[in-house]
Symmetry: C2
Subunit: 252 residues, 2 copies
Amino acid sequence: MNLLLIDPAELTDRGTVSLSDVRARHLRTVLHVQPGQELRVGLVDGPYGVGRVEAVDEAMVSLRCAFEAHAPSRPRVDVLLALPRPKVMRRLWAQLAALGVGQIILTNAGRVERNYFDTHMLEPREYGPLLIEGLQQARDTRVPAVSIHRQFRKLIEDDLDALCADAHRLVADPSAASSIGDTVRSAAPVRCLLAVGPEGGWNTFERDLLAAHGFHAVGMGARTLRSDTACVALVTLVHEAMKVGAVGSEVS
Amino acid sequence: MNLLLIDPAELTDRGTVSLSDVRARHLRTVLHVQPGQELRVGLVDGPYGVGRVEAVDEAMVSLRCAFEAHAPSRPRVDVLLALPRPKVMRRLWAQLAALGVGQIILTNAGRVERNYFDTHMLEPREYGPLLIEGLQQARDTRVPAVSIHRQFRKLIEDDLDALCADAHRLVADPSAASSIGDTVRSAAPVRCLLAVGPEGGWNTFERDLLAAHGFHAVGMGARTLRSDTACVALVTLVHEAMKVGAVGSEVS
């Protein structure tokens, strides 16, 4: 835990918070905090701040917090992900939050097995703590927005414009010749939406529908990666390309 | 499994192989192979080829194989990794093989707990199958060379030149201002060796020793990632930068 995240509902009017859960245990047993010590804190979906430890005992750690005026901006990359196997999705929540994504849009697809949607890992009370874990690791406060769509066509045709109005759309495609770097740098977009297909890939209908709705196919070289490895690698490359793009536009 | 890997010792003089392990089960129950069918195969640390299914029964799948003349070249990125927790290392073997690394050099460091070295996951019979799993996923035949070093100083001072003579040396450092992309592109190296520290980072002695032995500190932005996520992201960025570098030197 590199940043202690606090939910706004946990704060009293006086800006104090009393923690008694896994965070309190971490503060006591790993960080060995003492009264008077100051910690970097963040408000969930809000600003960073400083928390001064007021009291520590077996059951509880109390802090008085002061926050900055503004929240950090939302990560500029969103992902549209054909729902992977529950075991893989379980591993991805914290990793995506740590890498920094503004939205996680999960969808059905021809090659997604129906029973993948039955997992309890798609309930906010299950994935919420994993997203917070990733944010506390990466020192971010902005929780990715999550939406789950059982109808791929409806998502792409009807819902996506409202979800991601301003994003440059990319779809990872092993057969594509264009690289993420070149594609993103030439568009220099404010936001990117990256679509990642199921193991086995999008089918022809899905590929055509994505192309018809503005998704640019981008390749990633000859190696086929497992979907969790691929997600981490692809999100990393989009972030990197957007950084380079931003520098380029400052220079020119 | 996107490529069936066969060990040279499994081949008869006539170029046939009879599989009865997990690969046979995968061929039968997932790929539903039939006699006469041709599959893409590879020889462990050797060339690609084609295997023609000769017989399939409950216990065994037999193939006759023909291989190309030359093995693919070794991936151009090596990693030097402060040994992570056993659970994390377990997840990394297949992912590193799939991303493509020539060598995995594991080392002790001040912030590596001694008992991490006691795990059976550091024995070839444990990690070997995980490396093969990653190669079969990514369609590569070249098995990363693995070496394990309990003395960091001896590794860096005495052994590293022989292990990685020609590699451009990088060390991931959250506080570094230079990016992987810029550093690799300006050097346009034939190979890169990327050092990734333990959770909590290298200590001052280790950092200084790496710098004194030619390691360039490269940053990765403000986010602190868990070591498995960081490894995947960093190796991806080094590969990407070396690709761009190669294109650049062809153009100039």
